[in-house]
Amino acid sequence: MNDPSPLLQLERVSRRLGGRTVVRELDLRLARGQVLGLLGVNGAGKSTTLAMMAGAQQPDRGCVRLQGVDLAEQPQRARTDIGWLPERAPLWPELNVIEHLDASARLRGLRGAAVRKRRDALLERLQLQREARRLVAVLSQGQRQRVGLACALLHEPPLLVLDEPGNGLDPLQAAQLRELIRERAAAGCGVVLSTHLLPEVTAVCDRVAILHEGALRHDAPLHAGRDRLLLTLAQSVDAAHIAALTPVAQVQAQDACRYAITLRDDADAPALVQAAVAAGLAVAGVQPVAGELEQAFMRIATQHAASASEQAQAA
């Protein structure tokens, strides 16, 4: 959050659509190599926020800075520095996959053998070689999604903006997508990811921001919510005994026999059980803790439902 030169910075961004404020006074930062999950109930303003991040829409107030440059002043920066996959991957149905990727590259001013090589590598990576000569109009939703993703990745942008990228993907493809996102982040690319699937967020994101009625209601790192387990013992022991176990990074007693545990980066649940048994503790069970993310999201969603209900009653 305190990165002196963030890759992407939203400064008090507001946007009205159809007479309604969809995004209000939004401040967000994204560092290089960071994966930000953007969550919110339907209509929270996620897609509009992503479109502004991608340079496809301009804010009414505030500014979106990419590497310190205001996108409204230099919209051409979006050409090379942003890869955007909008919701439902809109594509030109009259073109085949290769034509589509080539057109996308030319629109960004890219030509030549290097681009063709990169295109072919992406087709292979996203398992689209067999569809390469097929018209986009006849592709399945998952295939279209992968073509959209290939377009977003083709020019190797430092910022990736992905709106529901897992739509239509099977579990294997979804896992490959997560791997791809982590790879890009490891290469220094910043990624903003919007999804309704909380497990996808916890699996791939470093930070989570939750929007509600266009305003930012939650913005926190995800480490605290990852790898937390609830260890249940047959007897009550001092929390310090559990903290001394090698796989444990942090422990918090929930009650006499239950402990919320944050594991070290290299540890997993079996390692925790093994260490506890080796230390003479009677393990009754281990299960994932309902994460802070889920709790935060549910709290905000419940507030939303309650306020909507109150408004309806008042009306």
Partner: protein, 252 residues
């Protein structure tokens, strides 16, 4: 650069869509048939016309009236080939993709305009080949032919600009085509009432397409006519650019 890139992919879309080919084939077939009919009539009347002292030749009696028919084809071609240019992108949700690629509204509009215009200019070029190949056996009036070709080119440019502008404002390609038909009909018919009253000059006549196209069909090119076409094309394209720019700023 962006104009060329947009033009390139729009051309690719025109190339792969059957609509462009069907319209081109129908136009070529219809115009080819009319050309043969008019040529046959000319050959049948040629001797009698010469005997009557009529100095009009092949260009006046066949080529120019035949090219005038192409204007009618252009009234249909331009709206149908431009209707999806921006309304189709908007409907398919692909317009923001262009914005996110850093393509300016000007490049979007001009790229699409030039792609559709180029398609129709190729049709015109193929049609012009018919009278031109007859230069082997006759003596066309090249000056009149060039003026008529210029007039048709300008008419196509104007009708396409109107079509792109209608596409920029419409939410659906069919609405864009309907809008372009209406505007074209107004441009054609704006002076009909005035002409019926016997008024030759006046604003209504100046606004009409025929006032500026017919002289070129007779081999006369005037600055006034060129300015009229430039104004119409410029205004239509500026409106389209403004609308697309607004869409980017305000989100449609």
């Amino acid at each position: 650069m962006s104009v060329r890139a947009v033009m390139g992919y729009e051309w690719c879309r025109l190339w792969t869509r059957p609509l462009g080919w069907v319209l081109a084939a129908l136009t070529m077939a219809g115009m080819g048939w009319e050309f043969l009919l008019m040529l046959n009539q000319y050959l049948a009347l040629q001797v009698r016309l010469a005997a009557a002292g009529n100095t009009s030749g092949f260009t006046d009696l066949v080529t120019l009236p035949w090219l005038a028919l192409f204007v009618i084809a252009a009234f249909v071609l331009a709206p149908l080939l431009t209707m999806g240019a921006l309304a189709g992108e908007r409907r398919g949700g692909t317009l923001p993709l262009l914005f996110s690629a850093g393509v300016s509204p000007t490049a979007v509009v001009l790229g699409k305009y030039f792609a559709a215009l180029l398609w129709q200019l190729l049709i015109l070029l193929l049609l012009l080949a018919m009278p031109v190949v007859l230069a082997v056996v006759t003596h066309p009036d090249w000056g009149k032919l060039a003026a008529a070709a210029l007039g048709l080119t300008l008419a196509l440019a104007a009708l396409n600009a109107v079509g792109v502008a209608c596409s920029a404002f419409a939410g659906h390609p069919a609405l864009a085509a309907a809008g372009a038909f209406v505007v074209t009909a107004l441009l054609v018919g704006v002076n009909k009432l005035a002409l019926a009253d016997g008024a030759i000059g006046g604003i209504a006549n100046w606004l009409a397409l025929s006032t500026h196209l017919q002289p070129m069909g007779r081999g006369l090119v005037s600055t006034d006519d060129l300015v009229w076409f430039a104004l119409l094309i410029g205004t239509a394209l500026l409106l389209a650019i403004r609308r697309v720019g607004d869409e980017r700023t305000r989100g449609g």
